[in-house]
């Protein structure tokens, strides 16, 4: 078996997220069903890495382990040198499905995570205003989630985690349920925000074009062996032109890899 692909740390600086020898299996009818096997990867600070793979390959599981929702069966998972043991505001998740609190309006949803921080009411309001503006939802603060479209909901979901300034942002197919037009808008928003804030992002997707559009690096997760099979750095200038020949070449290469 080939050696697991190592995340290239390049300049040799300590990686922000480091996963070494991670294995995980689910109990299914009494038998252990392995999902991830001896997987290793690392993310530098400020990087946007897409984790791509077919459904059932364990990419969501990997994200949940990094988030601290489930403990890994074996292996290490370090964020800024410290082991991940439980969920926390330094590793925030934007879920695929709507996970906004339905009884809170947009403002209150965004301010939810600030409850633990000692901020005066005025400071909190100002923060919320700033992030409403940032995700393009000015004027929608008093709306309830159920009155929002899917794309707007994901904007709120993004704002409520960015406001906590997490070390790493984990995104689990966040735009998978959106229509193509909205998805493009959201990708653009995400790219702008991540560049402005130098936000480190681990982004799970099964959409090849999405990965090539946003990622600095694409990691391909193999379904059967539960490891990173391929690592592709996307060396394209931003904003990326989807009709460009090189863009297409990256896409078809990833498609091919996925089909194997």
């Amino acid at each position: 078996m080939a050696a697991p692909a190592k995340g290239m740390t390049g300049d040799g600086a300590q990686p922000l997220l480091e996963i070494v020898g991670l294995s995980h299996s689910f109990a299914h009818h009494g038998a252990a069903h392995p999902v991830l096997r001896d997987l290793s990867l690392s993310l530098r600070s400020g990087e946007l890495v897409c984790l791509i793979g077919r459904s059932g390959c364990g990419k969501s599981t990997l994200l949940k382990i990094v988030a601290g929702f489930i403990p890994p069966s074996r292996g290490h998972c370090l964020l800024a040198g410290r082991p991940i043991t439980r969920p926390g505001p330094d590793r925030c998740v934007v879920f695929q499905e709507d996970a906004l609190f339905p009884w809170l309006n947009v403002r209150e949803n965004i301010a939810f995570g600030l409850a633990g921080k000692r901020l005066s009411r005025r400071e909190r309001d100002r923060e919320v205003d700033r992030f409403l503006e940032l995700v393009g939802l000015r004027g929608y603060g008093e709306y309830l989630p159920r009155a929002l479209s899917g794309g707007m909901k994901q904007r709120v979901a993004l704002a409520r985690v960015l406001i906590l300034a997490p070390l790493i942002l984990l995104m689990d197919e966040p735009f998978g349920a959106l229509d193509a037009q909205t998805r493009d808008e959201m990708q653009e928003l995400l790219l702008n925000l991540s560049q402005e804030r130098e936000q480190t992002i681990l982004f799970v997707t099964h959409d090849v074009q999405e990965a090539v559009t946003i990622a600095d690096r694409v990691l391909l997760l193999e379904r059967d062996c539960g490891q990173i099979r391929e690592e592709i750095a996307i060396e394209l200038d931003r904003p990326r032109d989807r009709s460009a020949q090189l863009f297409q070449r990256y896409c078809s290469r990833l498609h091919q890899e996925l089909r194997q």
Binding site: P102, A115, R160
Partner: protein, 278 residues
């Protein structure tokens, strides 16, 4: 995306309790038809008066019961005393049921062990009809307020418990995960996430419980209580005063409905999660 907010303002506030004529009229239609039919039956003499008195006779008896001078006739002006006695019993029993039912239901909904411990016993007890408890309650608590409160609490407990349980169980794990990553501890999550999410079910349980409270009140007041709306009904039966029986039934129906409205309004007043999710 750039639409000004006021264009969508109607989405902002959940729908208020219906108050418009268009919505109220259908609600009133059936009671009005029933009263109309009652008038017709009495006017045509289809049913003898000792089985179903004329509506105006009943209205007269009701007005006398509510506004009459105390001491005139058997029932003159007794309403206020009966009403407050009954209301006190209902509120006491209902509060007991809610105070036990909600926490126990939430715990059973979240913790498998608690559910296994509680649900078997509770579900068997629920199968026992309320009237079976009456003899036991009379032996345990004697005749009077305790028996009534016990019966009311007993009856109201089950719907409150069951709905709180369902509500707690239906909260998707993703909300706890979202809470945890936003820095909410497990304990604070009970109040910050679990209870607000379960609120619509909790309210359903409370409303069902409130409704059944009034039913069991009458059962509890059947025997030997001097005052109360149920007591008046039983008393009137002994004296053959069918008009007062009807007055009692109508009053309980009206008060029960009013209590339901007040309960919902109170919950909406106190909890954002009730205001915005129902």
């Amino acid at each position: 995306m750039n639409k000004r907010p006021h264009e969508n303002r109607r989405f902002m506030v959940p729908k208020e309790i219906p108050m418009k004529a268009k919505e109220v009229l259908p609600t009133l239609l059936v009671p009005l038809l029933a009263v109309g039919a009652w008038f017709a039956v009495s006017a045509l003499g289809l049913v003898p008066g000792y089985l179903l008195p004329h509506p105006l006779t009943v209205l007269d008896a009701g007005l006398h019961y509510i506004f009459g001078t105390p001491g005139t006739g058997a029932y003159g002006g007794r309403f206020l005393g009966d009403f407050s006695a009954s209301l006190g019993r209902v509120l006491l029993g209902f509060s007991l049921a809610a105070a036990l039912g909600i926490p126990l239901g939430i715990l059973s909904g979240r913790l498998v062990l608690i559910n296994r411990l509680a649900s078997g016993a509770i579900n068997s007890l629920r199968a026992v009809p309320g009237i079976c408890w009456l003899p036991l309650a009379m032996i345990w608590f004697g005749i009077g307020i305790k028996t009534t409160v016990f019966l009311v609490a007993m009856a109201a407990f089950f719907p409150i418990y069951q709905n709180a349980l369902t509500g707690a169980r239906l909260v998707a794990p993703i909300y706890y995960q979202a809470g945890a990553m936003l820095g909410v501890s497990r304990f604070r999550g009970i109040f910050a996430i679990l209870l607000p999410m379960a609120m619509p079910n909790i309210i359903t349980g409370l409303r069902l419980g409130m409704g059944i409270s009034w039913a069991y009140l009458v059962l509890g007041e059947l025997t030997g209580v001097p005052n109360g709306l149920g007591a008046v009904i039983m008393d009137a039966r002994m004296l053959g005063q069918i008009d007062i029986i009807l007055v009692g039934i109508i009053l309980i129906a009206l008060i029960g409905r009013l209590c339901d409205r007040l309960l919902v309004a109170l919950m909406r007043l106190c909890f954002k999660s009730a205001r915005r999710q129902s």
